[in-house]
Structure formats: structure tokens, C-alpha cells
């Protein structure tokens, strides 16, 4: 059996689901951030895999480059926010942080 586009999309779909699962179930902000990275990578895999079967293949590659830059910026902001919150609360567990009423 030779490898088709569907194989690549299956890998990216499972990767996306794992990332989403981490976001929904984990309680530590850093783990949620890692789940986000998994989703972004699943999207990147999609961009390249679909691009190889499209009429304008390089547009997908450019999308991956752009997403990598955004991911780096997002991680930088995340780290700054975590440090800020750690200074105030001594924890980055979102369930322990409850000043605002529901």
C-alpha cells in the first residue's frame, strides 16, 4: 500500500485531537501551551500536505513560515504572562486562580 494524502491528514488529525485533548483536560498552563503547539504543528502539516496536491503548491509553504513566526511570538507573550502571574499568585494553575467571580 502506498502512502496517500489521507495518511498525512490522518496523522495531522490525530495530532490535532491530542492537542485539543491537552487543552481541555490539563490543569497546568505550560501543558496547555504545549497542546497549542501541537495544534499549530498539525495545521502546518496540513498546509504542506494539501499544498502538494494543489495548483499553487508554494502558498502552503509560505503559510507554514508565517505560522512559525506567530508561534514564536505567542510563546514569548505566554512566557511573559506566566512570569507576571507567577509573581502575583505563586502558581500558574488556572483553577487555583479565582479572584474574579463566576
Amino acid at each position: 500500500m502506498s502512502i496517500t494524502l489521507t495518511h498525512f491528514i490522518a496523522v495531522s488529525a490525530v495530532l490535532f485531537s491530542l492537542g485539543l485533548f491537552a487543552i481541555l483536560t490539563r490543569r497546568n498552563s505550560v501543558t496547555i501551551l504545549m497542546g497549542l503547539e501541537l495544534i499549530l504543528n498539525a495545521a502546518n502539516l496540513n498546509f504542506v500536505a494539501f499544498a502538494r496536491f494543489s495548483d499553487t503548491p508554494f502558498r502552503g509553504d509560505v503559510a507554514v513560515l508565517i505560522v512559525i513566526v506567530i508561534a514564536a511570538a505567542e510563546t514569548a507573550v505566554a512566557l511573559a504572562i506566566f512570569i507576571n502571574i507567577f509573581r502575583n499568585f505563586g502558581s500558574i494553575d488556572p483553577n487555583e486562580i479565582k479572584t474574579l467571580k463566576e
Binding site: S29, L36, I39, F47, F50, A63, T99
Partner: protein, 503 residues
């Protein structure tokens, strides 16, 4: 007409370029000055904004067309719809910038003032380009730009637990929503093989592609944009973030970024599903992908959740957050309209919503400054002490409810008649019911203003600078005048509010 020479591109984006120049100037003044002058920064930004609005009207407004940098690929368009939204973004931002001067919490930290204004101004180029974008990648990048700066600004009050909490909640939910949205974009790219809105629409009208992939991708994009618009069921962040942030930052999130988010989402929906330009085509797409059911669910749930949760709020920022959620429902319902006045009723609602909501935020910021508290119960008696501010708040709130003789009434009337005309009588009735519910909590706010004070508070030393009275007048006048003479708004939004590529 295709705009692709350097000169044309420069002139179309001149307002954005000017504002980026101001950002650089602010960066250098922050680095060179020992003692940061907040007044100077505000004056510079306000002057820049007024110049940019003038340029937008006098230069960019005369160059309609598709924007392409380099080859023939159209990445953005300069159309009337985009121009009106860019103008509204700058206008509301002007009020927000002046509001920051009244915000004690935000300016408390002297070391952070310089960076604060750099971050605030950096919102503008991204937001203004986002409403012109017709490419999913450009849209994603600009939306993410706004979001990343928003996460930081939400937590800008140093050593405030509430503010840091708002920031991390906003970040965790928001980054998840935009990651899912990106995955959705990758699925749309897979199904359609393109990022450009018009080409995606062509793919949809061919009726031979894979709708399953496109549908999954579109749902994920709706999730991401629904989060940005704070429409239910993706609204849960909004009250907490609004309460935790400083009030001027809240008004930025509540008005300016929302105008941009509605603009982006409406352009996506109207371009993908050309309901009013080609009804037969729209029916063909609807048979495969029932997109208006999605919008109906978002719209109805936003109206109900926003209004019912607002009934028991005592914090002015939370009240306005829930009021914003219910208004998101009204604006989304405008996307269902299928007659020729679809875009114009949407734009008219966005214009008037932005004016009255920024006015409500301006007056509540002033009242918070007088009463030193954000609880509504502490506003007692302020109606007698500060009649001008209080009367303005009454006018804005009456307009937010949608009672005559204010602009809010006419814009709702216009929306409802168009909804009924397109056959959505049930939605119009639900919207009317929600308007009735909203009367209760808005009037509760007004009643508190004119209740007698329980105890004598020491006279506040704060006196409002003259410029804010002028600003109040500038915002009250359109709300009253357009309430009795609505033709200019309808003319503006129907003659000018054209989305390029669909009508």
C-alpha cells in the same frame, strides 16, 4: 481596478503608514525622555489620528479597487465597506486614547507609561488592515496581532491579581480559539486549494468539491471569530477580562476590536455565501452547507445569554460586557438578511453601536473617576452632582436599549424591518423580546444615578478637563440627531457600504 503600483499602495495604506510612523516616534521619545509626558504622548497620537482620518477620507477614499502587491494575487481590497470600518476604528480609538488620561489604574505605574502608548497604537495598523483583507492568512495574522497585544494589555496593571488573572484567562482561551481557527483555515485550504475569499466562493459555487472538509474548517473559523466577537457560546471570557482590565483598556476591547472583529466576520460570511447578489447560488450552497443555521444559533444564544446574565450584575464593566454580548447577537442577526439592504443595515448598526457604546464607556469612566468605585451602587446621587455627564449617560443608555428618539431606536427598527422582509420574523420577534428584557437592567443603572445619596461623601478633588465636555458633546450629538434624522446614516451605509467582489 487593481491597485498594484508602489504609489497606489502607499496612498491606500497612508493612514496605517502614518500611524506606524507615530509608533516609531513614540518608541524614540520613550527611550530618550527621562520623565515621560503622558499629555504629550496623547496629543501626538490624537493629532496623528485626526490626520489619518483626514487622509483616509481625502486620499484613500478616492482609490477604490483590489490591492495586489507584486503579481496578480489580490490580498486585500479598498472598498467602501472597509473605508467606513477603518474610519470607525480610528474614531473610537481616538476616544479610547483620550480616556486613558482619566484612567488612574492604568497610569499608576510610571515606568510602564511609555510602553503602554506604543502597545495601544500598535493595535491600529493591524485592525485597519484586517478589515480590508480578503485572504485568510492575512486575516489570521492581523487577528493574532490584535489578540497577542490584547493579552498583554489585559494584564497591564502591575501587581493587581485581578488584572493578571484576566490576562492569563484571556490568553489561554484566546490562544486555544485562534489555534483551532488556524487548523480550520488549513482545512479550508485543503478543501479549496486557496486562501483568497473570492476563490473560495468560486470553489463553493462549483458544487463539486468536498463540503465535509470545508464545513469542518468553516466551523472552526466561526469558533475563532466568535471568540473575538464575544458572541455566545464563546463569550465566557468577556465579563472576567472586562472586569480585570483597566477601564480604558476595557473600552478598547469592547468597542474598537469588536468593530474590527465584526467587520472581518461579516466580510467572510458575505463573500463566501453571496445571499443577496445571487439568490439561486446561495440556495445551492445552503443545500450543502447550512451556514445560516450556525449564524442563527450564535445570534439567538448571544441575545439571550447576554441579556439574562446582565440582569444581576453590579459592576459597571461586567454590565457593559454582557450588554456587548447581547448586541453581538443583534449584529450577527444582520448577517441573515438576504435583501439588498443587508450590508447597509449591518454597517448602520455597527456605526451607531460603536458611537453609543464608546459614549457609554466614556461617561462611565468619568463616573468611576468621581465615585472612586466601579460598583453601580456607588453611583448613587451622581446624577445631581454631575448633571452633564449623567444626562449624557442617560442618552447613551436609552440609545443602547433602542428607545426613540435616539439613533439606537432607528438602527434597530431598520434591522428588524429588513429581518422581517427577508422572512426571519421569528428572529425579529426574539430580538424585540430581548430589547424588552434589556430595559430592566439599563433602567436599574439609570435609577441608581438619580437615587439620593445615603451618606455624605467628601467632595471629590477631581475636576474634568474641558476637552472631555467637548468629546461628550461630539458623541451625544450624532446619537440625538440621527435619532430624528436617520437618512444620512442609511445613505452613507447603503451608497458607500459596498463589499468589493460581491456587489
Amino acid at each position: 481596478m487593481i491597485l498594484n503600483t508602489t504609489k497606489e499602495l502607499f496612498l491606500v495604506y497612508l493612514p496605517e503608514i502614518l500611524l506606524t510612523g507615530i509608533l516609531i516616534a513614540l518608541l524614540f521619545t520613550d527611550l530618550s525622555q527621562k520623565k515621560y509626558k503622558v499629555k504629550g504622548a496623547i496629543t501626538l497620537i490624537a493629532a496623528g489620528l485626526i490626520a489619518a482620518i483626514t487622509i483616509l477620507i481625502s486620499v484613500s477614499g478616492w482609490m477604490m479597487g483590489e490591492i495586489s502587491t507584486g503579481s496578480d494575487y489580490v490580498i486585500a481590497v479598498n472598498d467602501g465597506y472597509g473605508l467606513i470600518l477603518r474610519g470607525m476604528i480610528m474614531f473610537t480609538f481616538l476616544v479610547v486614547i483620550l480616556l486613558t488620561y482619566l484612567d488612574k489604574e492604568l497610569l499608576a505605574e510610571k515606568m510602564r507609561q511609555g510602553q503602554l502608548y506604543i502597545l495601544l497604537v500598535s493595535f491600529l495598523p493591524a485592525m485597519m488592515i484586517s478589515v480590508t483583507s480578503v485572504d485568510l492568512l492575512l486575516t489570521y495574522v492581523t487577528v493574532e496581532f490584535m489578540s497577542l497585544i490584547s493579552y498583554v494589555l489585559a494584564g497591564y496593571i502591575r501587581l493587581s491579581e485581578k488584572s493578571s488573572e484576566a490576562s492569563i484567562k484571556y490568553f489561554l482561551y484566546g490562544a486555544s480559539a485562534s489555534a483551532v481557527m488556524l487548523f480550520g483555515i488549513s482545512l479550508i485550504w485543503g478543501a479549496a486549494g486557496t486562501f483568497q475569499y473570492n476563490e473560495i466562493r468560486d470553489f463553493l459555487t462549483e458544487t463539486k468539491g468536498s463540503y465535509a472538509l470545508f464545513g469542518a474548517g468553516f466551523l472552526m473559523v466561526v469558533l475563532g471569530m466568535g471568540y473575538k466577537m464575544a458572541s455566545a457560546p464563546f463569550h465566557f471570557w468577556s465579563p472576567d477580562v472586562f472586569e480585570g482590565s483597566a477601564i480604558s483598556v476595557t473600552s478598547l476591547f469592547a468597542v474598537t476590536t469588536k468593530v474590527a472583529a465584526f467587520g472581518i466576520f461579516a466580510r467572510i460570511v458575505h463573500t463566501f455565501f453571496p445571499v443577496f447578489s445571487d439568490a439561486a447560488l446561495a440556495q445551492a450552497i445552503k443545500a450543502n452547507l447550512n451556514y445560516d443555521a450556525i449564524i442563527m444559533v450564535l445570534s439567538i444564544s448571544s441575545m439571550f445569554i447576554g441579556n439574562i446574565a446582565a440582569l444581576r450584575q453590579n459592576n459597571i464593566k461586567r454590565l457593559l460586557a454582557y450588554s456587548g454580548i447581547s448586541h453581538a447577537g443583534f449584529i450577527l442577526s444582520a448577517l441573515l438578511i438576504s435583501n439588498a439592504e443587508s450590508v447597509s443595515s449591518l454597517l448602520a448598526y455597527i456605526i451607531i453601536y460603536a458611537i453609543m457604546n464608546i459614549g457609554a464607556f466614556l461617561t462611565s469612566t468619568i463616573l468611576v473617576r468621581y465615585s472612586e468605585s466601579e460598583e453601580i451602587s456607588s453611583f448613587k446621587g451622581l446624577g445631581y452632582k454631575h448633571p452633564l455627564t449623567a444626562v449624557s449617560l442617560v442618552i447613551f443608555v436609552v440609545s443602547l436599549i433602542g428607545l426613540p428618539p435616539t439613533a439606537g431606536f432607528f438602527v434597530k427598527f431598520y434591522l428588524f424591518t429588513n429581518l422581517i422582509d427577508s422572512g426571519y420574523l421569528v428572529i425579529a420577534l426574539i430580538a424585540l423580546l430581548n430589547t424588552v428584557i434589556s430595559i430592566y437592567y439599563y433602567f436599574n443603572l439609570l435609577r441608581t444615578l438619580y437615587q439620593p445619596e445615603e451618606k455624605e461623601i467628601s467632595e471629590s478633588v477631581f475636576s474634568l478637563p474641558m476637552i472631555y465636555y467637548i468629546l461628550l458633546l461630539m458623541l451625544v450629538t450624532p446619537v440625538i440627531i440621527f435619532g430624528v434624522w436617520f437618512t444620512p446614516v442609511i445613505n452613507l451605509s447603503s451608497n458607500f457600504g459596498k463589499i468589493l467582489g460581491i456587489n
